[in-house]
Amino acid sequence: MDAFRALDFLDIESQLGEDERMVRDAVRTWVGERFVPIVWEHFEAGTFPMEVRPELGELGVFGPTIPEEYGGAGLNSVAYGLICQELERGDSGLRSFVSVQGSLVMYPIFAYGSEEQKREWLPQLASGEAIGCFGLTEPDFGSNPGGMLTTARRDGDDWILNGRKMWITNGTCSQVAVVWARTEDGVRGFLVREGAEGFSAPEQKHKWSLRASITSELVLEDVRVPESDRLPKAEGLKGPLGCLTQARYGIAWGALGAAMSAFDEALQYAGERIVFDKPLAGFQLAQKKFADMATEITLGQLAALRLGRLKDEGKMSPSHVSLCKRNNVQKSLEITRTCRDMLGANGISLEYQTGRHMCNLESVSTYEGTHDIHTLAIGHELTGIPAYR
């Protein structure tokens, strides 16, 4: 296979600034040279390649929109979206690793944390010296986090946390967990440190999706957290939901990266694979599939770019993100399935990218708001009538 060729059917390139293109190209080069050659073995083994962590920190992809004084790069949202696209071209597990760190750990510390919390955590999270995770989902509460059972009870100057969180990316390898718990005054956010007594994060195994990503359970049994480790500016569910809006924004871009990878692989394969004495790409059935996929990728790219520009103008709403996350992930999942089919038997080999992307996107479709929940969010926005219950 030749080097990755990113689909850009409508010259969206020309809509990007020079620094946005440079950021994208830097991440694209790193992913192609350093990550794509090793990811399939990690996917097979069910491990995340921890050796890339300092390289990611040096590259600057952790929390790149955070201001420079806290260790970020001060990038705009479009550049961040392009980073997510390129990372997920490598693997959804890689994009998840970075999304959680930036959008779900650094963002809440930056947006809801005290100055001391920002100074302590943000620089080491930006460099990758520390890894963080985000504990909201529970075994019985995913789409309706308001029903969470994890509690935080005041005890003098401290809080006592009890409960369980599930499906937590990076839980087992984190130095800090942003844990959301119910208090007498509503939901609050806490920074739970690695090694705190009563706190453990066993890894969840036997996944067939996001295999190159660590997924964990967080167990909190009378974990004592000082008031200084509570996020002072987070009150109620809008705290965690604000973080999720950031992460979902990155996913709207990221899923396209997986689709672009699969599309390019299938297109190259179909050009080389001879069936009935001519390339697979020369058949009408194949061409219709490519035309349909190129259309969806292009429309998704335009939507993501528009979403990014809205975010940079301060005009992005959660329902905008819902529309783009819902569409781009669903379309990308369908595209990877089609590409898997076009690759024939090779499509199930881990030596090809597509099957891995296809399996990963099943998780991406579910996490950060399922397809159906985003459907209801858009429906709510359009009709004014909530239909969640």
Binding site: D19, L59, A73, L75
Partner: protein, 250 residues
Amino acid sequence: MNIVACIKRVPLTETQAKVSADGTSLDATGVEYMTSFYDEIAVEEAVRTKEKSGGEVTILTIGSAGSSKEMRECIAKGGDKGLILVDEDWMARDCRSTAKALAAKIRELGADLVFTGRLATDRDNAAVGPMLATLLDWACVTDVIEVEIGDGKGTAVRESEGGVENYEFTLPAVICCQKDLNEPRYAGLKGIMAAKKKPLDEAPLEAEASQAEVVRLELPPARPEGRIVGEGPDAVDALMDALRNEAKVL
């Protein structure tokens, strides 16, 4: 130390070259560009030298006004400033004219040390570096795989046919970098943002006309189609015969 790294913008390595209608240049339609591979090594060595010995790195190129992307990338990797000598005829300019223009500018910049790639990956001339040193009357080591810069002098290891040559030289000098000298760093995102604030200037190129002119470009002849002489052990005799009597390689 005042360090200059010279770079050239070249078509991406995987570009399928097409000759344009005039027959003397490459068709630039749809061609994307990159910093020449060996020049990236030159930039990396310049930045490492600065990090060790202090000073400033200027990235210098001759190119069209649009070649800022490659320059910004080099600045993002640790260069302090960039200067494009603007020349819309940059692709056709010959080595002598290029070296003379660069030498004049390097003298004006007051450089102590210049790094170049061993060659640019478009024409593979490997001439500008040594010409530059000759015009400046400076020391020059080519195909360098190791270099140490000290106070007013340096040592270098040069790769040569079947061995290595060890050099001592005095500054100022021109070092032409071979691929094993270092592994260029990736442009980090902070570096990219910082590069936006560093100076990237343009100045008109003051150069003599080229003395060497490309009069015709030709692509290599298409490779003749292969021939299968048979299958399995039965084909060995026919293959040996073809190798001996047609290809005459045995």
